[in-house]
């Protein structure tokens, strides 16, 4: 997937709460200049207002906000937390964070289609959640 670079894939032990998890999962995008500092705050604000809409499937979150909320270029970062992150809502837990920066409403659609296909394969998703290292994790999204 051309929006994912190996340097934007990471495995972390855990986060103290979901807000920290969002910040950590967006950090590679920020470092790369794909999003501004306000992007993570926009995601956190949206979730506080609307509920955990970024939890898209069991164990999987897709942190994202609107282009005008700080997305500069379309890019995706993948973070796997060894300890599942709790969104303080029933059912809303995630360990795989696929953070999406969409600079417009088109350029990221191919990548999202591929991610949907990956996540629809339950066996593959189970393997992703057990990835032993960054390289292995990256291979699943390549």
């Amino acid at each position: 997937m051309n929006l994912i670079k190996e340097s934007n894939v990471q495995i972390l032990e855990g986060a103290s709460d979901w807000k920290e998890a969002v910040c950590q999962s967006v950090a590679p995008l920020e470092r790369d200049g794909a999003v501004t500092e306000s992007y993570k705050e926009a995601i956190i604000e949206n979730v506080e207002q609307l509920g955990p809409y970024i939890c898209i499937a069991p164990h999987v979150a897709l942190p994202h906000a609107r282009p005008e909320q700080g997305a500069v270029k379309s890019q995706i970062a993948v973070t796997l937390f060894r300890r599942e992150v709790d969104f303080n809502r029933e059912d809303a837990k995630a360990s795989l964070f696929i953070s999406l920066a969409a600079a417009d409403s088109e350029s990221h659609l191919d990548a999202l289609m591929q991610i949907t296909d990956i996540l629809q394969d339950e066996e593959r998703t189970a393997k992703i959640l057990q990835a032993r290292n960054v390289l292995e994790l990256y291979q699943y999204f390549k």
Binding site: Y53, A57, P58, H64, R66, S105
Partner: protein, 93 residues
Amino acid sequence: MENIKKIMCFCGSGLGSSFMMEMNCKKALKSLGIEGVSVEHTTLADIMPGMADLFVCGEDLLPQAQKAGKAIGLKNLVSLPEMTDKLKGAFGI
């Protein structure tokens, strides 16, 4: 069968999960053999009553969707079986 001609999928941002739901919705309609239904995606802020015959969103946003009309809420946004099941319910088939 219910007369549903337009389905609007939406999420908090209108370009991530809503698009995933749109793709899944189209796949599910195809597998159910339902034709002639347009499916689009948008953001919660742009949802208006009457803009679609059926609204599709994540479970969390279901109360807002129901204010705009007939709606289904999904637990797993990428699950094809769940989408297919709930569409069956909405279409009454």
